[in-house]
Symmetry: C2
Subunit: 324 residues, 2 copies
């Protein structure tokens, strides 16, 4: 069985091996610029982990896994335009480095390249793989639209937020695991359970991200602390605080979220104090544990050897450990 680190290296090697700037280079350069810019390769690794649960031959899942990473990068290119993001993984985003047109068009081309790689799986599993992939892709668009809608909404409920992160983040992780499982030869009912496990992992992963953005260790988190607060992002923490806060808390939040004229350190500190006063930091840790445990329960039921489950088990436990 390969470890997650080994699978990450494998995916990086496969992507690098395919690096090729075809003509017109204005189209292909931004695609490879985005694809080569590292990241954790989480989604393709999940494809391989899903396959590894059922098969010793993960080779047949590698190209579809690369396709999933291409699809993910396509969504990043377009999301960065929609979110006006100028940096991604310490490099300028495509529409900033080049221009809007290249951000749109090279994103489109990446989506089609993704289809080509996904479709390279074995013929007998192709219809099932495509059904999961296309359904998931459409849901990711729905999630992004809800996320955009939330920016304009005065109030977002916890249920609406959970539905948004399920669509925007969790379904692609779940779909990646299911596609890997299908390619690995899983029976349909188990492939579906693995999808459910992936939803648990994906929800835990996103909620952990919300938590770490406010309460993480700046050194190990690898991003600046408080970015979500400073950009007025409607995260689980804020939405829950708006639900639970007394009039004084709500006044503090309204105050700090109605303008950007505050000292950033002060704003982060005061908003975090509202979160901790309301114990939302503890509550979100509980939610991460709940979703992780849901995933672990499904993994436990799975009728394959412990050895095959090991890496998924470790990954899921790590989600909890990082915010214990």
């Amino acid at each position: 069985m390969k470890t997650i680190e080994e699978l990450q290296v494998l995916i990086d090697q496969e992507i690098q091996a395919r690096y090729q700037i075809l003509e017109p280079k204005e189209l292909y350069e931004p695609m490879w610029y985005a694809l080569s810019n590292g990241g954790k390769r989480l989604r393709p690794v999940f494809v391989l982990l899903g396959c590894q649960l059922f098969s010793d031959d993960i080779g047949k899942a590698i190209l579809p896994a690369v396709g999933i990473e291409m699809f993910h990068n396509f969504t990043l290119l377009h999301d960065d335009i929609m979110d006006h993001a100028s940096m991604r993984r310490n490099l300028p985003t495509v529409h900033v480095k080049w221009d809007l047109n290249r951000g749109i068009l090279s994103g489109d081309a990446l989506a089609i390249q993704a289809n080509i790689f996904i479709s390279s799986c074995e013929k007998d599993v192709l219809p099932d793989v495509l059904e999961v992939f296309n359904t998931t892709g459409l849901q990711v668009c729905e999630g992004q639209q809800y996320d955009i809608n939330f920016e304009q909404m005065a109030e977002v409920s916890v249920a609406q937020y959970m539905n948004m992160i399920r669509l925007k983040t969790a379904v692609l992780i779940a779909g990646s695991l299911q596609i890997g499982a299908i390619i690995g030869g899983a029976k349909p009912e188990w492939a579906k359970r693995i999808y459910d496990m992936g939803i648990g992992i994906g929800m835990a992963f996103q909620l952990q991200d919300d938590y770490l953005d406010a309460f993480g260790d700046p050194v190990t988190f690898g991003k600046n602390i408080g970015t979500d607060i400073l950009t007025n992002k409607k995260t689980y923490l804020l939405i829950k605080a708006q639900e639970l806060g007394n009039p004084e808390h709500l006044e503090t939040l309204r105050n700090y979220y109605s303008s950007n004229d505050f000292d950033p350190v002060e704003k982060v500190q005061k908003v975090k104090k509202v979160f901790t006063d309301l114990h939302i930091d503890q509550e979100i840790i509980g939610k991460v544990h709940d979703y992780s445990n849901l995933a672990l329960e499904i993994l436990k039921e799975l009728p394959v050897s412990l050895e095959r489950k090991d890496e998924l088990n470790k990954f899921t436990c790590n989600l909890m450990d990082r915010i214990r």
Copy 2:
């Protein structure tokens, strides 16, 4: 055998039957706004015509045909953003009616919907259908990139222009015919020949469009005459004039294409005079005939009954008749 007009009605009915605004409506409304906005439904009709060449059961090609129309509309949504187009078929374009984000994201969702519909073909032909569809899709992106590049280039050669319109326009018509033929049960070598026929039809179609924009009858053409000239578009007519013109012609073109400070009627008239003085109007008619005849030759060789070929034959002959 169904006529082109009957097939257009069939496609429109199938699209209307699927009209459904799911949640979030901000995503699905623009998709259906674009899809419902008519047009000639040329590409899906070609899917059905390709199928009809080999099969009495065109029913199995209808959903993939709708998928091709969805893909075409996805490219229109994004092209309209890139080309700063504010109107399409007498209605505001999506990014103008709503905003940039909805133009990008509903385009993405249309592309994924297209994949879902294309993938609904029978399993035994799915890998071949997808190979044609995905290869074609990537080429359409390449064509759009070349078209964008041309705007910034002082000189574009005829060969570069022909390559661009092949990628941007002809391959999707060719791919549509080939996909229909594959679904209809064509042998691989015939499906490939039908693709070549489609390239001929597509090239003739685009060159006819270039001709009609300058020399068409405003009543029957259905668009304003001279739009390409007034928007300084590098069409076959202009590129060929730059290749063939004497110093005086070139000076006239430089003059009228270097600014927009001219009376539009005067500009169209003077530029068209350069085209006719150089006999480029006649030359492009010759090119349309050459490409149409190439298509007709392939159609003639095809080992199916004359009755099955009839509609494609008529369509191709019409391309020539409209600019005789």
